[in-house]
Amino acid sequence: MTDPILTIRNLTVDLPEGGDRPHAVENLSVDIAPKEIVCIVGESGSGKSITSFTTMGLLPKALKPSSGEVIFEGRDVLKLSAREHAKLRGSRMAMIFQEPMSALNPCYTVGDQIEEMFEQHTSLSKAERKARTIRLLDEVQLPDPERIYSSYPHQLSGGQRQRIVIAIALALDPALLIADEPTTALDLSTQAQILHLFKELREKHSAGIMFVTHDFDVVAEIADKVVVMKQGVIVEQGTAEEVLNRPKHPYTRKLIDAVPRRTGSVNAHMAEKHKVMEVLDLNKTYHSKGTMFKPARTVHACKDVNFIVHRGETLGIVGESGSGKSTLVKCLIRLEDPDSGSVIIDGSDIAQFTPKLLHPYRKSIQIVFQDPYGSLNPRRTIGDQLVEGPCNFGENRAHAMERAKKLMKIVRLEEDALYRYPAQFSGGQRQRICIARALMVEPEVLIADEAVSALDVSVQKEVLKLLNEIRDEMGLTVLFITHDLRVAAQICDNLVVMQNGEIVERGTVDEVFGAPKHDYTRKLLSAQPGQGWVVPDIAKLPPVDPALLESPMGAF
């Protein structure tokens, strides 16, 4: 066993007074050895990012480490001056962030932003700096390094930008690499490539890697060691094999139990075959007008899309960014006008309806959006926002309010939630409110557009369960748009897979995932992280050690 690069001992970081708890991180101890990937796992607010920021010296001013030590290469970084810590940053310890789209300065070429590392920390000549930068671009497997070198961030895709951020982090061969949810914002196939890159880097450079994530499948893919955090406290740590397959702590068990299984659920309520919505040859093409200086561009966002949804069915529409699934949704709810084709609901083709004719049909399709924080008006009470739809269709306000109360019960919120404001609810609660809002006008079809993607796994699981129940009880039809194959497998009956605006494969969940026919589907499935890991059946594990339940964190 080699000596650890980073040793965190009894670290406590205080939260400003008036927070929901006194410490962001409490009494935390972790070791990271060279060539080791340590995954810190936890849900939002668990303090996992605070741990990485403390190590890097990037904590917001309001947060201060109050005790403990963070020993890096023999020195306690908490005792370093700001200037000394800055010297270590970038050169000996480097960080990769979650949001590749905003992590680079839009005003400088990526080459310049990598070279800056050499400029700051070394005395290399300009030519050497450029040569090293080009070599780095090559190492993170970017095509045509010379061209990328002089590109600006906005000219690159999300995956390419994340490679640039990784190249910046690797520039000076740091001993410690901290990655904070580096693949969360990326498409599945890009995520697979980046994770593969991390595994290669561990071998080539002898860095220790602290990898912060919320995704157990990613953990299964790359971790050597796992640290599970809850509300600022480590509840369990051990080797990846131990924690993933034989979790001891009830909280770890709960998290692992919430990981979506890769097998489909069977919906027994599919007996009746009543067509609710039929989409025929739907086409939508975007043209960007050519100018004197620029050729015109045409993008086929939807090309001859056909599908039928039956009452009580959940149809999953799966695809990566740019596959046309969002355009399809916009055409279905007529936020965009399709170029040609039909959307038939109740025997009427609403695709070509004028706004006036469309109005009564608006309520037959409702939508729940991805971002529960942006989709509720922060200045109006939940009740106001819920009754707005029905009132718009002529319902008496008091009557609508009565129904809203009932719906609150169905989505498992208190009645008095109606009189409160969105800011008083968590992400999962807000998403349930959004579902209630959509149900208020009694739609035929509910579209969930990446509705659980922004939520923690355990919350995700609850919302999915709720959607399933509502579907079974109310006979609702759901169109479930997602990029997450595991989630799709959990909730959908049938699937269509989209690529470049076309449906490339369709069938039941078991058909599509069990025996994929199209290359693209196969590619998506093989990009899924954590393939070698069979999620353990929590019920069959030995009972929780009573000593763990006695600690305050065991109760949940």
């Binding site: 990037l58 905003s102 992590a103 005003c107 700051q120």
Partner: protein
Amino acid sequence: MYMYILKRLGLALLVAFTVSAISFSLLFMAGDPAIAIAGENASAEDIQMVNDRYGFDRPIVIQYFEWLGKAATGDLGNSWYFDLPVSDLIADRLGVTMLLGLLGMSFALLLAIPMGVAAAVKPNSLIDRASLFISVVGQAIPSFWFGLILIVVFSIKLGLVPASGSTSWKHFILPTIVLGYYATPAIMRLTRAGMLEVLSADYIRTARAKGLSARKIMFKHALRNAIIPVISLAAVQMGFMLGGSIVVESIFALHGAGFLAWESISRNDLPTMQALILIFSMFYIFFTFLADILNAWMDPRLRIA
């Protein structure tokens, strides 16, 4: 980038052309120019005489292109009041106005940007409060009153600088402060808002994670991005300073183009007004064009024409 510049240039020329047409048509909007010259009680013969001399009875389009052709060669006609070529009149006065405008803008930028940055680095600190105070005062005090106060204190009581005229650099100190201070609040507040936004951006966190020095983060990564909207604002303010320095010019008896504009308006001297409007508009167009190019140079995302 070159394509972008060409395109902006084409647009600027188009706007300039439109503005020239509007400023020419001013002559005819105010009624029959022949009557305006000959006087209200003039006989038909007198009016005919004016028309023979100036050619007001010919088709307007022909007159416009004739005027435009002459304007392009620097001949802006004769002033009705001074009876001198308008181009000479303006050439005499424009130097003072341009000098004052440039000085005023430099003063404003030198005061506003450092204070805006300092305020953003430490929001709600003493320096933030102080800069807020300065900008509120600047917004609230009318220029003429501020100018008079400065004259009373620095010229009359203390005798440090001359109160009026334009013969030495000392004469420009007070007008520069008055004109510049007027433009300061907006620039300062915009710099502060821009810096606050940029400093909380993810790429600043990246820059810190790279271990860059605080100075480099501030000037290379933050200020450049924050200053982009300020450039556009400064361009508009600059145009305003050149055309709108009438008040300041009259208080300090600087005989600049602003003062000339006031004179020509009060004396109904249409050719001079026309020429001044044309020239001030061209300045606006020029500075806006300059700001567009500067912005595109600083922010590559804008270069997509």
